[in-house]
């Protein structure tokens, strides 16, 4: 639990100092997190990848009319890395691997941001409701969560995406349906714990409404493990999403890492290793970087769980 004192019931001018305390704590937290070299390395990779995703149109000229489709150079099929105009080589169908690597970062960023936003919102809402209300509501919601957790993640997402039909949008939808449960469970446990604190009783005594107690006291003090999980999921979602598109659930020719690995697969027996290797390496680095950062944040917030 990090910021217990930051969310004492604050009135009028005290609000400002509470804000200041929170900012100071965030600074301290950031400094502690970045003191660990592996966490810092993770963050550096993330900044690089996200930068690449945001600046993609300025690094490689976007394919028109649709920039998220791979451009095809029919004059340079399966050329090795280092060929003129194709720094990382091309696929069997003349797709430029460098284009896929860079625009794939953009696809992955979009995927992970959308899915994490939806799943955190839904999970936090469901978990808070269950934890705050307790009783019947809690019982019903948590049984639903249990059922969702009984189906292995990838298999569940695969089945949903398959039934909805192959497209990248349906991959996003499938991942959103699968990934919210973890947040619900984490949030419920947190809320149940936090609502027993004395400052919550104090807020009740002074007549605060349920909503205000939740918003001012319970939510800010419950949210940190959700932040850790969200950081880890920024990586995991790209990992699972790329796996689904590798299996063939995204549109063919999409500039996405999993699609590209799948496209390059047919060439490996002929020694054309590059089309699969580079985009797959990107998935690995992406997931690794967010894992390192997530672990780093967790270590600082909760020094008891030394998981390494």
């Amino acid at each position: 639990m990090s910021a217990t004192s930051a969310s004492q019931p604050a009135v009028g001018a005290a609000n400002e100092s509470a804000l200041r305390v929170r900012i100071r704590r965030m600074r301290e937290l950031a400094a502690n997190v970045l003191a660990n070299p592996t966490t810092l390395a993770g963050l550096v990779v993330i900044v690089g990848m996200v930068g690449m995703a945001l600046l993609a149109p300025w690094i490689v000229e976007p394919n028109s009319p649709n920039a998220s489709q791979m451009p095809r150079d029919w004059g340079a099929i399966a050329v090795p890395p280092g060929s003129p105009g194709h720094l990382l080589g091309t696929t069997n169908t003349g797709g430029d691997v460098l284009y896929g690597v860079i625009w794939g970062a953009r696809t992955s960023l979009r995927l992970s941001l959308i899915v994490v936003t939806i799943t955190v919102a839904v999970g936090v809402a469901v978990g808070s409701l269950a934890g705050f209300r307790g009783g019947r509501v809690d019982e019903v919601l948590m049984r639903i969560v249990d059922v969702f957790l009984s189906i292995p993640e990838l298999i569940f997402a695969l089945a949903i995406a398959a039934v909805l039909g192959p497209s990248f949008r349906n991959i996003i939808l499938a991942l959103a349906i699968v990934f919210w449960v973890k947040y619900a469970r984490i949030m419920r446990a947190q809320v149940m714990h936090v609502k027993q604190n004395e400052y919550v009783d104090a807020a009740r005594v002074i007549g605060d409404s349920n909503w205000n107690i939740y918003r001012r006291d319970v939510l800010p003090n419950s949210i940190t493990p959700v932040v850790v999980q969200a950081t880890l999921d920024m990586g995991n979602i790209v990992l699972v999403g790329a796996t689904l598109s590798f299996i063939g659930l995204a549109e063919a020719g999409l500039a996405e890492w999993g699609v590209l690995v799948s496209e390059g697969q047919s060439g490996i027996s002929g020694g054309r290793w590059w089309a699969s290797t580079f985009p797959g390496l990107m998935v690995f680095l992406w997931a690794l970087a967010f894992n390192l950062l997530g672990d780093g944040i967790r270590d600082v917030l909760d020094p008891k769980t030394e998981t390494r």
Partner: protein, 325 residues
Amino acid sequence: MLPFLIIGVSIIVFGLTRIGGSPVAIYLSHEMSSEEVAEIEARYHLDEPVPVQYAYWARGLLQGDLGWSGVAAAPVTEVFPDKLAATMELAVASAIVAVSLGIGLGTYAGARRNKLPDHLTRIVSISGAAMPLFWFAIVMLIVFWVYLGWFPIGRSTPEVFASISHPTGLYTVDALVSGSFTAFRDAIWHLVLPALTLGYGATAIIARMMRSSLVEELQEEYVDAARAKGLAERLVLRRHARRNALMPTVTVIGLSFGFLLQGTIVAEIIFRWPGLGRWMADSVLRGDRATIMAYVLFTSVLFLIVNLVVDVVYAYLDRRVVLGS
């Protein structure tokens, strides 16, 4: 709890069969009149309310009716056992790799905290969680199949496979039963690369847990006591610390089994392994609903049962746990 979860999963699976188009679409054709369509829908009880439809569907399930697989061009239940045997062989081999390697590495690293082996193990375990299996498998193939040529691809050499009978469908076991060393070597030779590749992620999970719980155990007082009475460090580790450190590790073995189970899909695609996972992948691409649903149900139930077994084993190892509370 288990029956409740199984019913819950079956409701989700049933729900999946009802979204995105009519479940009888494969029986329909454009020439049919609307009366004929209605007749077919009535035959499969689709004109009934949804809960009644679920009841019919669940009854079929319990009677072993899993529908018709378009991909295999046969009833799902007919194709299932052979594919299951192939997948189980791969999954069990990977589990053996993951458990032995994971516990071994974790112990080795935990006993040498902050020394080089510990750092190397840490790299293995951190990268394991982030490793895209579909990429790792391809890299392994490029190195060991394309360039070095050490391992083959697929499940068997066809001539050798045909030379023995297959009563169990588990190639290694069949080879042993028929006493053919050639076939056994062929089976193992084909199994090594996919099992190592698939087992990597689970190895990482287990090694990480084993390492951290061993480090914790080594700080306990009973370890000091054992050392004080002059027990060799090797024996302190083997008789005392490792045994206790295994307990928390058992709990993650269930988790890593889920990891392995999901991984078989990708591993079977890449290593051309004719199991359930590849059948599932083909079915996903060709919209073979019956197979998809059977697969989801089966793997979830298996996953639940494995986790139940893990709980029981844990309770057995740790007498402080009272089951059913």
